[in-house]
Symmetry: C2
Subunit: 94 residues, 2 copies
């Protein structure tokens, strides 16, 4: 199933660690703080467990992550406003 | 149709202005930077237009908003990790 992961994390270092974990787990970055990935239940549990570990180590500031199942059709109807994300080594889904 | 609005905005003042606009437009806050609302196409266009005005006035820092159609069933399967949002005057959807 396709999942979208949004996060709002105020600490720059922690935000980068979350992005690294999501990349390592095979998700693809879509926006500054939005990743998407096709995850079976085992991989989903693995992603959730890793993010919970990071949350417990978060010292200060906002740490809020939402993981939401989504269909490709709905994802294709997304509306983006604002800065485009440019991290060329990532395979970006437009 | 149900829409989820997720934003990653580094400037505190701008982030509050976006939240105020979304509240005024009748969306409900679910997490620090996540709102949800049942919008027809006219209201959706209105929300998008208002957010674009704010984006154009954004001086510095990240300003990234994603609006995504979602079904109630999918929304109910969301996984939240991290700080719970507490703004008691808001009607929060759990």
């Amino acid at each position: 199933m396709l999942y979208i992961v949004f996060y709002d994390i105020s600490d720059d270092g922690m935000r980068n660690r979350v992005a690294d974990v999501l990349k390592k787990k095979g998700l693809v970055r879509v926006q500054y703080s939005v990743f998407i990935g096709d995850l079976n239940s085992a991989r989903l549990k693995d992603v959730v467990a890793s993010l919970r570990v990071l949350y417990r180590s978060n010292k200060e500031g906002r740490f809020s992550v939402m993981i939401l199942p989504v269909t490709q059709a709905m994802f294709n109807q997304r509306i983006m406003i604002g800065d485009e994300f440019k991290e060329n080594e990532d395979k970006i889904i437009w």
